[in-house]
């Protein structure tokens, strides 16, 4: 021990750095010593992890020793004797200015030099400017030699002929194209693209759709969890040759470990959910469209990255060839989808129409000069609210829609513009049109891992390679307990995908109901210390975040400032506050100094607020005695060029948070017990499935049906709705519901009253016949009240028995009484009352329904003529095959537009119909035995009433409105309430079932809990101040505020309160106080801090 200590002391030398005494180890370079002390010395040729060269001479500092004063390069000069170092003395600055002037004369266009020139006040150099962009710092050469251990490039020539070059000026054979030389180059002389151009496969970002190159250490994408970069072993030089290892050397916390290996872990599980998703069609297979050959032909996913604010263009609409702003953009639909050619996929990819329309609209929002044109076969906007979006895109956003198939694209070599060759729909002539950019709506294909998974999990794959089945009724695998969903099973839009995820969870939860919660562990915390009566004793911890914060903000100054703030007992800095040892120190310091409040100044609260709050909880404090000042995202990263101002701002942010936390109060969360019982409103297929799924997951439930029998709309289907459902499906389902002891069925009833909070609702169910009311309690509820077939008077419906609806036709097809005998001609009209005001939505199912019935007619008698008059055929996904089958079997499709609807006239010999067919561009007159109207689905008329009872919203179209169209499709915004089936929007039976199972899984997330926790940031009322004005009641969107009838004062339903603070903001007496954002706290934050504080003080004291 002893000798070591002595040596240590001997090795330490005291020097003075800009007047400040510091102690450094012998041999430390001045640059390292200065950077440790927070002093920045400019340098162009120094790089951490590399030896120093002293080549650029920018880092010169003045060294004063006993032997006098001289200039030395800070990067190269090792401290070996006591000395005084001046990093910014007039002599140093003069020397640097000269160096910069000379470098700038050589390389006038290098940004790094221009910045330095500005910083040091160097104007235009006195010397004749050159146009070089290499400053001969030699970083690239040293990197290649020292790190990569090869000499793929070196300094050649002497004197003014000196330059960096590979041997013989040709790309060296030993070059690994690692890109390190380009990475370290301070001037941008060496370009990564030049280096990668030699690679067989460029190392491109898969997240940014191969639009930009990436490094070998990277985050896969910004939202990655955990947000830890990984090394790309396939491309990393160290893994390939054993050389380099720079990252290990420069990482200040030693996080790099090359020895880490992939690990196999064995888990015992009761259920498996398989959702690898889908892959993207390789548009290169469509050679005529030029993807991969022409720079300005990109896929829709690539274009989405271009539009993204976090994408390679920062959200600016730019094209790849020259980075210019394209004006004319063509979107080509159905690339690889709905394509029976060998290289195509026969099914419809479902999502691309909406995706392209959205991209076109967003492109116009980002750049109003953009003129998008969408080339399509059918516009398939069959999702909820999609039709309006489509109409707005066309009518309000000026997007051109062209129903044409682009046959070929070729590139103009000079401008790289693209010429599209297509047949114009109006003129029927072959047209050529020039565009600046082409976006291909490449379809969806099965995920490549499907096949391997299918082998190991015994998954059933369909002919296209997607997984079959997604509900537990249709098993996806030969082995029980395996569930799948989303893009793994069929091309789907986001809401369907999310629902199928919940549906798969319901399947798993059903299997594992008996063991729910048995393997979960609870973290134990020490008893909370009561500090409410103590004066604030604040700990302020300032994070350096490596150099992320400390590189810009002078952290020691912030620490010193924090120490002076009233109430702050302890202030300190950490290199990384979030590291385990820092958290331990934090806990120790809380105990050591009896701290009762803690602030950490570091990154955004979103990253580590929970971690820090949890840490102080482990130290026995209430976790809400914590505040976080964001001095990284909101300071050091956004004010990188202004270190002094950033330091000042960091101090002020810390001071504001100290001011805030001084007034903090502990928050204890309210808990309310959960009633483990569900309520399902509506006894159709959706409702029954939801109830049954809840029961199978172990929860009792009430099922309320307004009719005398269960079954709803499904009873009106006379033919099987799809091959998934057998003839006896409904009977079996009803028997299962009836036979389940956990389900109480209430027929001929409706919900007339509903109140309470999530986990503990109270409802009244009224029987229509007897008028008796039954009161039930439930923890959550599912609305599955269904829809209705739309009533219509269009096309003479109701005046002639030969004019009927699709469901009526289905009944006649199924009853087998020969009522269709003698029928030779059948005309079907699509979109009756749908897709136009006031019902500007698509009913989704009618195209498929019409085609199914047409095929049924053809099956019964191939000689029957069936005509389907349509606007767009919307057989999305695998339903496209039905459409193809119908065309193949001779069903005739005629297209009309809403401006020119067909005209129906009933006569004695048949019903006459005249329509202008947009495909053949001529009027077609038909005489038909039957006219079948696809009337679509309307919302149930009782929706409005029920929406008032449940206090949930409905859409403009009258369907119930979910919390979020994409990511919360079966939840209402009110927690604990869910929806499924036609109550949500028109959809197929299989989708209704999926939704109802999904909704049951969402409901079970409440029902499976023992208690519901209130949010921390809810409001409370200071009753002494409340005047009962009820402004808070009217401002609350959640019905969480009400006036107590007895006292006349305002109350808060803690569990309902979502913590928006609107009522606290509006309360005129400030009786309503929001936890964590108390008005006194906010006002203290607004106290003048920093500079202004001093001014105020001067004014008040003088």
């Amino acid at each position: 021990m002893e000798p070591t200590e002595t040596t240590n002391e001997e090795m330490k030398i005291r020097i003075k750095l800009d007047g400040v005494p510091v102690e450094v180890e012998t041999g430390t370079t001045i640059l390292t010593a200065a950077s440790t002390a927070g002093i920045t010395i400019p340098t162009l040729c120094y790089y951490r992890g590399l030896g120093s060269a002293g080549a650029c001479r920018l880092c010169v500092v003045e060294l004063k020793t006993d032997r006098g004063s001289r200039l030395v390069p800070a990067c190269h000069h090792a401290i070996d004797e006591p000395a005084e170092v001046l990093t910014h003395s007039p002599r140093v600055v003069a020397s640097r200015r000269m160096t910069i002037e000379l470098l700038l004369a050589r390389c006038p266009d290098v940004p790094a030099l221009k910045d330095l020139a500005e910083e040091y006040g160097v104007a235009t150099p006195r010397f004749a400017p050159d146009d070089d962009d290499c400053i001969l710092c030699g970083l690239c050469v040293r990197t290649c030699r020292e790190l990569m251990e090869i000499d793929a490039l070196s300094m050649v020539g002497r004197g003014w002929n000196r330059r960096v070059a590979p041997p013989y000026d040709r790309k060296s054979l030993v070059c690994m194209s690692c890109g390190a030389c380009a990475f370290v180059c301070p001037t941008g002389r060496i370009k990564i693209s030049d280096i990668y151009s030699g690679l067989a496969e460029e190392n491109l970002s898969t997240y940014d759709e191969r639009l930009v190159p990436v490094g070998n250490i990277r985050l896969s994408y910004p939202q990655q969890i955990p947000k830890v970069p990984v090394i790309d072993r396939d491309n990393c030089v160290h893994f390939k040759t054993g050389a380099c290892g720079a990252c290990e050397r420069v990482c200040t916390v030693g996080a790099i470990d090359y020895e880490q290996e992939d690990r196999e872990e064995e888990l015992n599980v009761g259920a498996v959910i398989v959702t690898p998703g889908f892959a993207h069609y390789d548009a290169k297979q469509k050679g005529a469209l030029g993807f991969g050959r022409y720079a300005n032909v990109m896929t829709n996913l690539q274009f989405e990255r271009v539009l993204s604010a976090s994408g390679p263009c920062g959200g600016e609409v730019r094209r790849p060839s020259d980075g210019s702003h394209p004006r004319k953009i063509a979107f080509l639909q159905c690339v690889g989808s709905r394509d029976t050619n060998e290289e195509g996929k026969p099914y419809c990819s479902s999502i691309c129409c909406m995706a392209s329309i959205k991209e076109a609209v967003i492109a116009r929002e980002h750049d109003s000069n953009v003129e998008p044109t969408i080339f399509y076969i059918d516009i398939r906007t069959q999702g909820k609210e999609f039709e309006r979006y489509f109409e707005d895109a066309r009518d309000k956003h000026g997007i051109t829609f062209r129903r044409s198939n682009v046959a070929k694209i070729y590139e103009r070599p000079d401008t790289k513009n693209l010429v599209l060759k297509y047949v114009d729909e109006e003129t029927e002539e072959i047209t050529e049109e020039e565009f600046d950019l082409v976006v291909l709506a490449a379809g969806l294909v099965p995920h490549p891992s499907n096949e391997a998974l299918s082998a190991s999990l015994d998954l059933r794959l369909n002919e296209h390679g997607f997984c079959e089945g997604h509900t537990h009724q249709v098993p996806t695998s030969g082995a029980a307990g395996i569930f799948t969903g989303g893009g793994t099973t069929e091309p789907h839009d986001i809401p369907e995908t999310v629902v199928e995820g919940s549906c798969a969870a319901a399947g798993a939860a059903r299997l594992l109901a008996d063991v729910r919660g048995t393997m979960s562990r609870k973290k134990k915390y020490p008893r909370q210390i009561d500090v409410a009566k103590q004066l604030p004793r604040i700990g302020a911890f300032i994070c350096r975040c490596g150099i992320n914060i400390a590189g810009t903000v002078n952290v020691p100054e912030v620490v010193a400032h924090a120490a002076t703030l009233p109430g702050v007992i302890h202030s300190a800095e950490f290199v990384y506050s979030c590291s385990q040892d820092s958290l331990e120190i934090m806990k120790e310091k809380i105990k050591e100094h009896d701290l009762n409040r803690v602030i950490v100044a570091s990154c955004t609260p979103r990253t580590h607020e929970y971690l820090f709050a949890d840490t102080i909880r482990e130290a026995g404090l209430n976790r809400y005695y914590f505040e976080l000042a964001s001095i990284r995202e909101h300071c050091s990263w956004v004010h990188m060029q202004q270190p002094e101002q950033a330091t000042l701002k960091a101090k002020e942010l810390v001071e504001m948070m100290v001011n805030k936390i001084r007034g903090a109060r502990p928050v204890s969360l309210e808990y309310s017990p959960v009633v483990h019982r569900g309520l399902v409103i509506g006894g159709g297929v959706s409702g029954m499935n939801a109830a049954l799924s809840l029961a199978e997951q172990g929860f009792e439930c009430d099922l309320v049906e307004k009719d005398m029998q269960l079954g709803g709309n499904y009873r009106r289907h006379w033919l099987p709705v799809s091959e998934l459902y057998s003839d006896s499906y409904l009977d079996e389902l009803e028997a299962a519901v009836r036979g389940n002891p956990k389900i109480s069925v209430h027929l001929d009833s409706k919900v007339t009253f509903f109140s309470g909070v999530v986990g503990n609702f109270h409802a009244k169910i009224k029987c229509n016949a007897t008028g008796e009311e039954e009161e039930v309690n439930c923890g959550s509820a599912v609305v599955a009240t269904g829809g209705v077939e739309r009533e219509t008077t269009e096309y003479g419906y109701g005046t002639d028995e030969r004019i009927l609806t699709q469901l009526e036709l289905e009944k006649r097809l199924a009853d087998g009484t020969g009522s269709l005998e003698g029928v030779r001609n059948v005309v079907m009209i699509q979109c009756v009352g749908s897709r136009e005001e006031p019902n500007l939505y698509c009913s989704r199912v009618c195209c498929t329904e019409a085609i199914r019935n047409a095929l049924e007619l053809k099956r019964a008698d191939p000689d029957v003529n069936v005509y389907i008059i349509y606007r767009d055929i919307r057989t999305s996904g695998f339903r496209e095959e039905l459409y193809r089958e119908a065309r193949d079997s001779g069903v005739v499709f005629l297209r009309y537009t809403v401006e020119q609807k067909p005209v129906v006239e009933a006569g004695p010999d048949g019903v006459g119909i005249a329509v202008f067919d947009r495909i053949s561009r001529r009027e077609v007159r038909l005489t038909s035995d039957l006219i079948v109207l696809s009337v679509g689905i309307a919302p149930r008329p009782g929706n409005e009433e029920l929406s008032r009872v449940l206090r949930v919203p409905v859409t403009r179209d009258g369907f119930f409105m979910e919390a979020h169209a994409k990511i919360r499709p079966v939840d209402f915004t009110s927690e604990g309430l869910h929806l499924a089936g036609l109550a949500h929007s028109p959809r197929f039976t299989s989708e209704c079932v999926t939704q109802s199972l999904g909704a049951s899984a969402r409901a079970a997330t409440v029902l499976s809990r023992d208690k519901i926790e209130s949010k921390a940031e809810i409001v409370e009322v200071n009753l002494a101040r409340c005047s009962g004005c009820a402004l808070c009641v009217s401002s609350c969107p959640y019905e969480a505020r009400r006036i107590d009838e007895e006292t006349g004062k305002a109350l808060v339903e803690d569990i309902l309160c979502q913590g928006c603070g609107a009522c606290a903001g509006i309360c005129p007496n400030k009786a309503t106080v929001q936890h964590l954002y108390r008005q006194t706290q906010i006002m203290h934050m607004l106290e003048p801090v920093g500079e202004a504080a001093a001014v105020v003080e001067e004014k008040t004291t003088s």
Binding site: S310, P566, A646, G1059, C1060, A1062, H1084, E1091, A1093, K1099
Partner: protein, 177 residues
């Protein structure tokens, strides 16, 4: 590591702060740096931003390293609808030259309608400011969604630029005389 001696804390109840010498010292240092520089007036801006959109946009500006003037400081609230007009007045009276309120885009409020409430309140507040002879354009309400980091930075730059042109607020103008 700096550890101030644990002096007994006994400032009078209700007084928010003791004005320490150190604060003054730093501030003086700052004054000098500013005067040494361009000597230009640097406005002080406070922003009340909602937790879900604009605060997240500021985070995104940070992670994207989009640079904007350091004149702004953020106060995070859960919702723009929770911004009490008194906060804005207090900030203006307390030495800030401008106040920015940032919320979710219309229709996107995490709490359904908080941003509309903010819009109503701030409209009225601006009216009041104008009527009492203050410059209502020192109070900005902007919708900046969580994905619009560059929009956030642009808004801050624009606001600081405009306030720089306006000069100090009448409430602070005479402080340095």
């Amino acid at each position: 590591m700096i550890e101030p001696s644990p002096t007994p804390l006994a400032w009078p109840k209700g007084s928010a702060r003791r004005k320490g010498d150190a604060v003054k010292a730093t501030s003086e240092a700052v004054e000098t740096t500013r005067n040494e520089g361009t000597g230009e007036f640097e406005p002080r801006v406070l922003a009340f931003v909602c937790n879900w959109c604009t605060y997240a946009a500021a985070d995104l500006a940070g992670t994207s390293r989009i640079q904007y003037p350091p004149n702004i400081k953020l106060v995070r609230l859960m919702c723009s609808g929770a911004v009490d007009p008194v906060y804005v007045l207090r900030a203006l009276a307390g030495g800030f030259d401008g106040v920015l309120i940032g919320g979710c885009r219309p229709g996107d409020c995490h709490y359904q309608s908080g941003n509309y409430k903010a819009r109503r309140r701030i409209t009225v507040l601006r009216e009041i400011l104008r009527n009492i002879g203050l410059d209502e354009d020192r109070v900005w309400l902007r919708w900046i969604s969580a994905s619009e980091g560059s929009q956030f930075a642009a808004t801050v730059s624009e606001m600081v630029e405009q306030l720089r042109g306006k000069g100090p607020s009448v409430l602070t103008r005479n402080w340095n005389k």
